[in-house]
């Protein structure tokens, strides 16, 4: 845990309420961005974030500090989002079940729907469509890693699975995403010339 978070938590536990306000300011955008991908609507995401911060505040004395504060907060929000999705699961319609459908993304969230994506760039829309076609497990680890910036250990802690599982799941997710994005790359001839440049060095 970084020193700033540690100091703010200590001050909050000491009775300084504004210290927790600084933690909220620091992490609310990142947490909200993750919550939007976990639940079905921006309103639900705001509720999930709000409940996560309130729960964290109530349990702040139990936070040991052996993990990042954001990881701990993320885990609270993740569990809240899962609970919310379970409550909202029975929303199917018998009429819709018998109709004919074209392609539908695996994830019905707003952020993968076409209407929602119209406000974004074309590349955003294509990427969201590709993400929506990933299996939920693969999309989950991929967004946690690339969009939420969690490490293997943090993802494993949030999901409650071994680190090796996270690594193999991410490996499959990247290959699956690559297959989905390959036709898009073929349609962009301007990118073909860049393949000759040496890639950046891998970092541990």
């Amino acid at each position: 845990m970084n020193d700033d978070d540690r100091r703010l938590i200590a001050e909050c536990l000491g009775g300084r309420r504004d210290a927790f306000g600084e933690l909220v300011s620091r992490y609310q955008a990142r947490l909200y961005s993750a919550a939007v991908r976990l639940v079905d609507s921006p309103d639900d995401a705001a509720d999930v974030v709000q409940d996560a911060f309130l729960n964290a505040y109530q349990s702040l004395h139990a936070f040991k500090g052996d993990a990042e504060f954001f990881t701990w907060l993320y885990r609270i929000a993740f569990n809240g989002a899962i609970s919310l999705k379970r409550k909202k699961r029975p929303t199917g319609s018998l009429d819709a079940a018998g109709g004919e459908h074209g392609f539908e993304p695996a994830d019905p969230s707003d952020y993968v729907r076409t209407g929602h994506a119209l406000e974004r760039t074309e590349e955003d829309r294509l990427l969201h469509a590709a993400l929506g076609r990933l299996s939920p497990e693969h999309r989950e680890v991929l967004t946690m890693k690339d969009l939420d910036g969690l490490r293997y250990e943090e993802i494993a802690e949030v999901l409650g699975v071994p680190v090796g599982t996270v690594r193999s799941r991410l490996h499959r997710a990247r290959l699956e995403l690559r297959e989905l994005l390959a036709p898009l790359d073929d349609a962009e001839p301007q990118d073909r010339g860049r393949g000759d440049r040496p890639p950046p060095e891998p970092t541990p």
Binding site: G21, V24, A46, F53, L127, L181
Partner: protein, 424 residues
């Protein structure tokens, strides 16, 4: 196509989660393989694409909403208050004495067992302290001489021991006598040792009564005859079904058997014609002048007569107590109710004087001479089909039968013998 383990290394490199050893491997891989380099470049580009996605902005009032719902102070763990000491002062002297005694016993036991020499098993070296004379002399010089008793001896307890002291038992010489084993302890039934058993009520034996079922041919056996007689003793009136391949022939055989046993069967004229012309499918022979043994003899004779024929006419015999339906059928056939369930000769409980029955008996003797009602008589009528039955008012034989019926004998069993077509 790159192998999967190479791709796994490349994706981990894209994730930035390689170990130092893996970094070296991946660097060598990228330096030596164009395909690996191209794959790594594409995977890394995908990651950068994802990271460039526009993040969803939180609502502007989210911070204010969160802060508005925060309580004034974060909750702190509540320490459970320890219960205050009891105000009553408790003396610790007995506890201290008990602890001292326990410590002395424990220490003595420990020293005793430590002094026991353990045998050394060959092949299993035992770690023992080796004597070092120089070291021991040094320690003897530095340490005061040990004047304490050996560890195995009980330690002396200073000071008096509070509390009652049990007197030592006094040895009493008793006369030697053979020991007698104590008597067994009485078994005390209580809730813990004997769970309550449910009360078992009296068992009711359900006696299932099976209708009598045999063949006419079996009436040459005594056990079947006895079974038949026993069955007839269970109810006041019975219906006996005789299944015949030819009911008309069966009627003739029954009439012949009846003649042998002294039973006169009065046949209705129209029924007699139907027997000859084989128009009916079932005939009824009613009698209330035969006892169970008479009926047995009748069937024995019938079986014997049937056995003499080149082909048997009768098949099965069913004997079942009469039902309301049977009584209704008989009443319709005879035109009157013969009183199937009426008990013959039942003495009345009311005392009668001599004069009350004298006039009736004289009148009966004059109108119904003795011996007339003692005849073993039966009546043969058409039974089925129902529309072929003789109307009771038109049958002279029926009227004669009813007129000649006397007082039913006490052992008589009214029976409806139905000779019917065997279908089997």
């Amino acid at each position: 196509m790159l192998p999967d383990d190479v791709l796994a290394l490349l994706t981990a490199a894209v994730d930035g989660e390689l170990t130092p050893a893996e970094v070296t491997t991946v660097r060598a891989l990228l330096a030596g393989s164009d395909e690996a380099r191209a794959a790594y470049k594409r995977l890394r580009a995908d990651r950068q694409r994802l990271r460039r996605l526009t993040p969803a902005a939180p609502p502007a009032d989210l911070h204010a909403r969160i802060m508005a719902r925060l309580p004034a102070r974060p909750p702190v763990p509540v320490e459970v208050a320890r219960p205050s000491a009891h105000p009553r002062r408790v003396s610790r002297a007995p506890i201290a004495v008990a602890a001292s005694v326990l410590l002395a016993v424990t220490g003595g036991s420990f020293a005793f067992f430590m002094n026991q020499t353990s045998p050394t098993v060959p092949g299993h070296p035992t770690i023992v302290a080796r004597a070092d004379t120089k070291r021991d002399r040094d320690w003897e010089r530095l340490l005061p001489r040990d004047t304490a008793p050996p560890p195995s001896a009980p330690a002396a307890i200073e000071g008096p021991i509070e509390g009652p002291v049990e007197p030592a038992p006094v040895a009493v010489s008793l006369p030697v006598a053979p020991e007698i084993a104590p008597s067994p302890r009485p078994v005390v039934r209580d809730v813990l040792t004997f769970p309550p058993l449910p009360e078992v009520g009296k068992l009711d034996l359900a006696r299932v009564r099976v209708p009598f079922l045999a063949t006419v041919a079996e009436f040459d056996r005594e056990d079947v005859q006895q079974q038949f007689v026993n069955e007839l003793g269970h109810d006041p009136a019975f219906r006996i079904d005789l299944f015949a391949r030819d009911p008309g022939k069966g009627v003739e055989l029954l009439q012949a058997a009846g003649k042998v046993t002294g039973l006169t069967i009065h046949a209705d004229t129209m029924t007699r014609e139907r027997v000859q012309r084989k128009l009916a499918t079932a005939y009824l022979v009613y009698t209330d002048s035969l006892s169970a043994t008479d009926l047995r003899d009748l069937l024995v004779r019938l079986a014997a007569a049937d056995a003499k024929a080149p082909q048997r006419t009768f098949d099965a015999v069913h004997a079942t107590p009469v039902t309301q339906t049977d009584q209704r059928e008989l009443r319709d056939t005879l035109g009157t109710d013969p009183g199937l369930w009426k008990r013959p000769g039942t003495p009345t409980a009311e005392p009668k004087n001599v004069a009350s029955g004298t006039a009736d008996r004289i009148a009966k003797t004059l109108t119904d001479p003795p011996g007339k009602g003692g005849e073993k008589a039966a009546l043969l009528m058409t039974f089925a089909p129902a529309q072929a039955r003789t109307p009771p008012a038109t049958s002279r034989e029926l009227r004669q039968f009813l007129d000649r019926r006397g007082e039913r004998r006490p052992a008589a069993v009214p029976v409806l013998i139905v000779i019917r077509q065997a279908t089997g």
